[in-house]
Each structure stands twice: as C-alpha cells, then as structure tokens.
C-alpha cells in the first residue's frame, strides 16, 4: 500500500503560521522547481538593483558635464583594441561611459514603466470595480469607453496624448515635466485592459453569497467593493500588472526612440538607443547595441516572471 494513511487518532496540532504556509505553498514550490523562474528573477533583481542604486554605484555620472573628457570619446568596449578598463562597455561621442549611461537609463526606464503601470492599475481597477458592481448604464458606458480605447493601440494613444500635452506646455517646461507627461500618457493608454479584467471578476464575485451577506449586515457599497471584492479580484491583476510592466517599459523606450519621450539630458534606454543609432553605420555599434541588450534583458526577465506567475496561478494548466 503506497497511499499515505491517516493515523487512528490525530494528535491536536497548531495550525501552521502564515509564513510556514507561504513557504510550503504551491506557488513557491513551483518557483523553486523552475530554473527559468529563478534565473529570470535573479537577472531582474540584478538589473533593478543596478538601476535603483545607480547614483551611488555607477562608475561615472553621465549627467555631470565636468566629468566628460572629449579625448575619451568613442572608446570601444573591453576586449577590443583601444579600450580602457575604466570604460568597460565603451564610450559615446562625448566621452560618456556607456555602462553608467545604461545604469542611469535603466533607472529612468524602470521608474517610468513602474509609475505608469501603477497609474493604469489604479484607474483600471477603480473603473472595473465600479462598472462591475454598479452594473446597468454605468457599466455599459464605462465598458464602451474602454472598448473604444482598446481599439486604439496604446503606443498610438500614448503618442497622441504626449503630443497634445506637449503642445499645451510652454517650451521651457518641457524638459522638467516630460517624465510626468510620459507616465500619464502610457498609463492612460493601458488602463482599459485592467478595467475589463477587474470588471469581469467583479461580476462573478458580486453574485456570491459573501457579498450578499455583507449587504445584509448593512455595509456600505464602497466598503464592500474595497474590502470584500477587491482582494478577490487582485489575482489576475497581479499577472496582468507584471506583463504590462514589460510592455510599459517597451512603450517608453519606443516613444523615446521616436524622439517624443525623454530628452538626451535625462536619457532613458530608448533615448540612448536613438542617439547611438546615428553611429551605427560609422562602426561605433556599441553605443546603441549595449543599451539595447540591457533593455531586452530587463523586459525579457520581467516577461518570464509574468509568464511563470500566470501559469503558476492557473490551476488548469498544470
């Protein structure tokens, strides 16, 4: 007999603590078992740490003009001839260290990406909860708005919003506010997907008994939505949020590459790629390729984590 067997009289035991349960959970088990998940989490962590700590650990501060020495311009990356240990990935046309530029650039890319996702989540979840719970005309109107916006690809939306807001801002304020404009534009272009997901889940939860019970004891609508329904619809939001983070970073990189994102004074990875693109034909490929590699690694590891998370949380796909 190989099946486990219940003892005749089970000894009374304390319920395991939340931490013990989390450690033993299927999620963590699946994580530990998957080398891909562990690997991508590690890469993501390294990149994020390097980006966040850039002001303190980067070899050179690329925004400080005093640091730059034109004699150092266009150093190739390490193993190649003419390279220098102080600039392991080479330098650009002004002598800026590519490695430091990447670290600072990743920082900005991450900040914009994360902030816009948070914006989209807040707006999308609020709208979705409201639409799902209220139903009727409110639901129809909100979802129609989301649907209409969904037909527009987000990059186009972001581009147009960016263009309109920039046109309204006086020129001298452009550089300072660009980052906020960008966060707003990308965030506003990505809320509908969250709204639809949350609305769908809310519709399901709304009919469940615990919501009925809450209403029967007299809890207010907002309180029911926030404290009862919200925790139960957050699962898919987490997965969608992770995947959207990767997309938002790509959106920002694309907008910067097109020239309407972050300016060269405060460059993100996309801006760096754009600047470097000009030197591709003259042979200084490293100025554009290394930021590109960093971008891909970051988005790839986030996507892998998001994929793993989605499969792990979906009981049917095992």
């Amino acid at each position: 007999m190989s099946a486990t067997q219940a003892p005749a009289k089970p000894a009374p035991a304390r319920a395991p603590s939340r931490w013990a349960r989390a450690l033993d959970s299927d999620l963590l088990y699946s994580f530990r078992r998957s080398p891909l998940a562990v690997g991508s989490a590690t890469v993501a962590l390294i990149l994020i740490l390097a980006a966040v700590l850039a002001p303190w650990i980067a070899p050179q501060d690329p925004t400080n003009v005093a640091n730059l020495n034109l004699l150092n311009s266009f150093n190739p990356p390490l193993p190649l001839e003419g390279s220098d240990w102080t600039f392991p990935l080479g330098t650009d046309e002004q002598g800026r260290d590519v490695l430091s530029a990447i670290m600072f650039g990743s920082r900005i890319s991450l900040i914009v990406g994360a902030a816009s996702v948070i914006f989209a989540v807040v707006v999308g979840v609020a709208v979705g909860l409201l639409a799902g719970y209220a139903g009727g005309m409110v639901d129809a109107f909100l979802m129609r708005a989301a649907d209409v916006q969904l037909t527009f690809p987000s990059i186009l939306m972001a581009l147009l919003v960016d263009g309109v807001v920039s046109a309204e801002l006086p020129r001298n304020l452009h550089a300072t506010f660009q980052i906020y404009v960008l966060i707003f534009a990308i965030g506003i272009s990505r809320w509908p997907q969250f709204a639809r997901t949350v609305r769908g889940s809310t519709l399901v939860e709304r009919n469940k008994d615990y919501v009925m019970a809450a209403r029967l004891i007299g809890l207010g609508q907002v309180r029911i939505m926030a404290t009862h329904i919200l925790p139960n619809v957050l699962g898919p939001v987490l997965v969608l949020g992770t995947l959207t983070l990767g997309l938002a970073i790509l959106d920002e990189a694309t907008l910067s590459f097109l020239g309407v994102g972050l300016p060269p004074t405060q460059p993100s990875l996309g801006t760096l790629i754009r600047i470097g693109d000009d030197f591709l034909f003259s042979g200084q490929w490293w100025v554009t390729i290394f930021p590109g590699v960093a971008l891909v690694l970051m988005v790839l590891s986030i996507n892998l984590l998001g994929d793993w998370l989605r499969d792990a949380l979906n009981p049917r796909l095992r």
């Binding site: 007999m1 190989s2 099946a3 486990t4 067997q5 219940a6 005749a8």
Partner: protein, 334 residues
C-alpha cells in the same frame, strides 16, 4: 465469456504530495447484452473506471496495475492507434453534459457522418442516410431537416439524444454511459433512460451505466457495482443489492433514500464523509464510518466475499472470522 473484464485494475496519479490511488485493485465484468450499473458518491472513482476502459486517462494519471480485457483480448496496453479503432466501433461513450460534449461549430449531421465514415466504409450519401436513420431512432422529429442544425439549436434532452446517436451509430458492442441523465431535467431523464434501454436491448449492446442516482440503476441495470473510495464495496444483481444490501455502506445508501411508502421523522444518513484519496484509512476504507466495525476491519483490507446473492468487500462475511455478536443479518432497510 464476458465481454469486458476488469481485473485488479489500479489507477494512480503521481502528485508532488505523493501518489494518489484513485482506483485500487477493482475487478468487475460485463456480459454481452447486460447492463451493469456502477454507483457511488462523487469522487468514488466510477467515472474514472469508464475513462480507463476507453484509454483516455489524462496524464499524469496512469494504469499502475491490473488488466482490462475486451472480448478476451487485453486493451489497457494497446498503442494509441490500435485503441482508437476500438473506440466508437467496439466501445461507445456517452458523457454527462450534452452542451459541452458537442462541438458548437459543426452541424449535428457533420459530426454523425464523420463518426460513421471513420468506422464504416460508406459513401457520403450512404453515411448521411444512416445518420438520418439514427436521428429518427433516437426520437428526433423531422430528422432529415434537423440533421443540418447546430447543437445550440436543440434543447437539452434532444442534445443528449444526439449524443446517444453518436455513441451508437457505429454499432458498438459496449456503451459506457457516464452520468447520462445528471445534467437533464427530471422529466427528461425518464425519457432518456427509456430510450437507452430500448436501443441497447434492440441491438444487444452491453452497457456500463455510471451514475450516483440509485433510482436510475434500479430501473435500468441488471447488476450493480457499488464503489467507495476507489474500491468496489459490493457487486451483485440489482434486486438483491437494493432489497438486501450486504455491505454496511450499501445498507446506509439504501437507507438514506426517502421512501414513498413509509413516513419517517428523519432521513437516515451515514456519519462522516468519504475519505480523500491521500487519507484512505488502513484496512477497510469504510471503517471510520461503519456501524458494524470490529478489529479486523482496521487491519486488513477485505476482498470481495460471497454474501448471499451478492458479493461484498466486508469481513462480516468471512464466516470463519466474524464475531458472533455481528452475525451476518443481511439488513433490510427500515
């Protein structure tokens, strides 16, 4: 010789928390032309038995022991292609929910014709005629028009009739009916059962009728196997099992059915619940809930022992060992 023989079949599901034994050494047989009912609670393993017979166990589930023989030949170890030829042609299947069983994008006629043409070498025209014939057989009015209708254009009862037609159109010798009426209205249930009985009788088809509804079994089956926790608790002729249940579990089942004749203050129920697959008790799986339990029940798992006209997996029927106090009074239910 029996048409279908299941011989000590064990089906296991390896999971990260250990191996779950969903079917534990079960044995039963079906004679040609016979209707065998397989009854039990949800999770007892009755549907799994049917799925194992047609070889559609989903991985990681696998046959871990025993044999399945059809017409004397082993079928549990056949390669996919060989088993495929048996499915539909020798063994037909009816599933529970007719709405999800039929592909919504194809007409009923298309699905019938493709099944017929897979197993019988017929031209398109002949296959279509045969399909219309079967639709009429199962009681679909205006079959020659309805043949081009889509599944969603039928009501639930009609859809299940179509499913029955699909299961029988290649004239199999055995049909496995997995909860064929559970998803239907009570009034339709009777019609479907009557239809199934008539068709299988007319064509001499054997039936393995899996259900949790004892009433359906009593009406339709010749013999019945009662399953519990992946094992067979009792097996025997229907009339005997119903009127003189031998196994205490069967007794409890029969006792919990409300009777139209006697009034009772409370319905009898069996205390406790069927154990989960990863916590099956040692010895007889029913021992925590059994009103007639004694020592041996905790130690050894009982085999099927003769108990009058039926066979029951219960130590009460081991004449040599049962204590006198529990002399086998084959209990009638009150």
């Amino acid at each position: 010789m029996a048409l279908l023989e299941i011989d000590n079949l064990t089906v296991e599901f390896p999971t990260r928390r250990g191996v779950l034994r969903a079917l534990d050494s079960i044995s039963l047989s079906i004679e040609p032309g016979e209707v065998l009912g397989v009854v039990g609670e949800s999770g007892a393993g009755k549907s799994l038995t049917g799925v194992a017979v047609i070889g559609l166990l989903e991985p990681p589930g696998r046959v871990a022991g025993g044999q399945i023989r059809f017409d004397g030949k082993r079928i549990d170890n056949l390669p996919y292609e060989a088993m495929r030829r048996i499915r539909g042609r020798q063994i037909g299947t009816i599933f529970q929910d007719p709405l999800t069983t039929l592909n919504p994008l194809y007409t009923v006629g298309h699905q019938l014709v493709e099944t017929i043409q897979t197993h019988l070498a017929l031209s398109d025209a002949d296959a279509r005629k045969r399909a219309i014939h079967w639709l009429t057989e199962v009681g679909i009015p205006a079959a020659s028009q309805r043949i081009d209708a889509y599944p969603h254009e039928f009501s639930g009862g009609m859809r299940q009739r179509v499913v029955i037609a699909l299961a029988l159109c290649a004239e199999p010798r055995l049909v496995i009916a997995d909860e064929p009426t559970t998803a239907l209205d009570v009034s339709i249930q009777a019609q479907i059962i009557t239809l199934l009985k008539r068709l299988t009788r007319d064509h001499g088809t054997s039936v393995m009728l899996v259900t949790h509804d004892m009433g359906v079994i009593a009406e339709t089956a010749d013999r019945v196997a009662v399953m519990y926790a992946g094992r067979i608790a009792e097996i025997g002729p229907v009339a005997e099992v119903v009127r003189h249940p031998a196994h205490p579990y069967t007794e409890g089942l029969m006792g919990s059915i409300p009777s139209l004749e006697h009034r009772v203050a409370r319905l009898r129920q069996i205390d406790g619940a069927m154990p989960r697959l990863n916590a099956i008790p040692r010895g007889c799986a029913f021992n925590p809930r059994c009103p007639k339990v004694f020592d041996r029940c905790h130690a050894e798992r009982p085999e099927l022992l003769a108990a009058g006209a039926t066979r029951a997996a219960c130590w009460l029927y081991d004449a040599a060992a049962a204590p006198a106090a529990f002399a086998p009074i084959r209990g009638t239910h009150a």
